[in-house]
Chain length 350, copies 2
Amino acid sequence: MTTILAVDAMGGDHGPRVTLPACRRFLETHPEARLLLVGGDEVRAFHHPRAEHVPATEVVAMDDPVEVALRRKKDSSMRVAIQQVKDGRAQAAVSAGNTGALMALARYLLKTVDGIDRPAIASPLPNAKGGATTVLDLGANVDCTEQHLLQFAVLGSALVSALKDQDNPSVGLLNIGEEMIKGNEVIKRAGELLRAAAAAGDLNFHGNVEGNDIFKGTTDIVVCDGFVGNVALKTSEGLASMIGGFLREEFSRNPLTKLAALVGLPVLNAFKNRVDYRRYNGAALLGLRGLVFKSHGSADDFAFGQALARAYDAARNNLLDRVQARIAHARPLLTGSPADAPPAEAVASE
Amino acid sequence: MTTILAVDAMGGDHGPRVTLPACRRFLETHPEARLLLVGGDEVRAFHHPRAEHVPATEVVAMDDPVEVALRRKKDSSMRVAIQQVKDGRAQAAVSAGNTGALMALARYLLKTVDGIDRPAIASPLPNAKGGATTVLDLGANVDCTEQHLLQFAVLGSALVSALKDQDNPSVGLLNIGEEMIKGNEVIKRAGELLRAAAAAGDLNFHGNVEGNDIFKGTTDIVVCDGFVGNVALKTSEGLASMIGGFLREEFSRNPLTKLAALVGLPVLNAFKNRVDYRRYNGAALLGLRGLVFKSHGSADDFAFGQALARAYDAARNNLLDRVQARIAHARPLLTGSPADAPPAEAVASE
């Protein structure tokens, strides 16, 4: 079965210089994949038997406000790529462009799935078990209600089950230390909702987790509001970058330490590979009636290739169907859009 | 001038086994310090010309609920240590005990300073500039208002000015990515308040920062609500621990990598020292009418000594007076307790 991805070849900090080499390598390693490469002349010049050029005359800049992407640049590569998904010509879209614009366009063009109020951004982070912990939301939604957190749990479960062939991935609710005042009101009510969902067989709810559990790998999925998730993600990036910098500095301090680095090079490289954030590139925009994946804006061709591979796996493993199935199952607990949602008796007592 | 610290010698995971050796070393390196060592018989057996035993018959366990610490164990070492501060016999109290209990007892016995609604927990984290970024709140307060965030900024500025001899430390407001929906309503209003405080000369407000700025060292102080701060802290601890584990694993994989580790040992140790969280032990409970410092429960004697040193520096550098002075100055913007606070005209338009 052929899987077709629509690629915003113009997006990201580097545009076609990064996206096109990544696409070529992706096509070589994925013989059943086809790509729709959306963009201008540079993209038209790319030739491959399983790639097709889709013209787009505009580009959403990394600093364009959402309004510009939505209302002014109607022929942007980002928009046209998502339109391919909407029109059924591609099973997923991938872009390294501006997150806010991508989310807004995806939401506007694709709409959210019944039962889901707001789409969420989910990304895997490496964990000490050698696997990855999928965290959501990473910044699409600030000020979440307990309903949103439940929706994230359902969406995250569908994503992990599609990408990792895990039927019943475990979900943790991000909270703060045992010894502290435990969480705010929203978190407490979310815990009740998630327990109800687990009791109904809709989720594998582990319970509360703390920040360190993300990297411990205590659960497959960690659910939190977008503000907290974004802070956790960026804080981690900052710490990893500082530690990497310190390590480099110490090993390049003098001839003796440089020699030590030379001796230790294979080990240091093996270490570097294990914590290489590029391997985890490719965040899913979940809860939409179509698949959209977001690459880091600064991704190089290896990292962008990872985002392509993740989108491809999600499409092949029917992520959309899995989302729908899980939502249908959890429907009595979900009070999300639209008006035709059944009354949520189970939540009425909250 | 002699500075006197009251030490809860029974607190923490290890109790006197860790606190007493740390106290001895502290006394050796701080010839103008005196210690009041609070605890039972084990503590009585400690002798030093500048140490005095203060008996306490009970210990707050690490898992005791706040209610037990407050209402049942009225002769706990933790409580008696704080009482020394209240009674003016010590200038600061240090405990490695249960955070929730310590905060509750400190608040109950010492009360908050006029203009401050809730005490906050502040701790330094290492940054890429080789210094430290002080982050607050780290978990004492979930569900903060913009007023609380302003209060944290004032308290954090007083702390850093006392500990680092920096008159006008810079303050960042923790927010999420530029490209995302920027922050929630509380953060937006807090930004306005902080800008007003900066305009009035009360604060050196840098503006919004993101999670990665904590470790970059963009500002001296990062202000956030206790939920977000606790998640950022714990996430960082989890990541640092994972990275350390990976590094150890890679270097102990086989005889060759072990040899590389041997060659690289001095470098790896220098690196380890730079990211050693123990150096940053000693969180301040700020906003109270007395100084209380919290050590990690799992601290070893080196780490506990760092907490003692931090409390000592804060006391010697008149942290309490600095807090009072900064609050007095920022008073028109602070609408915090008590009833005698002047009306906050500057905030009325919010």
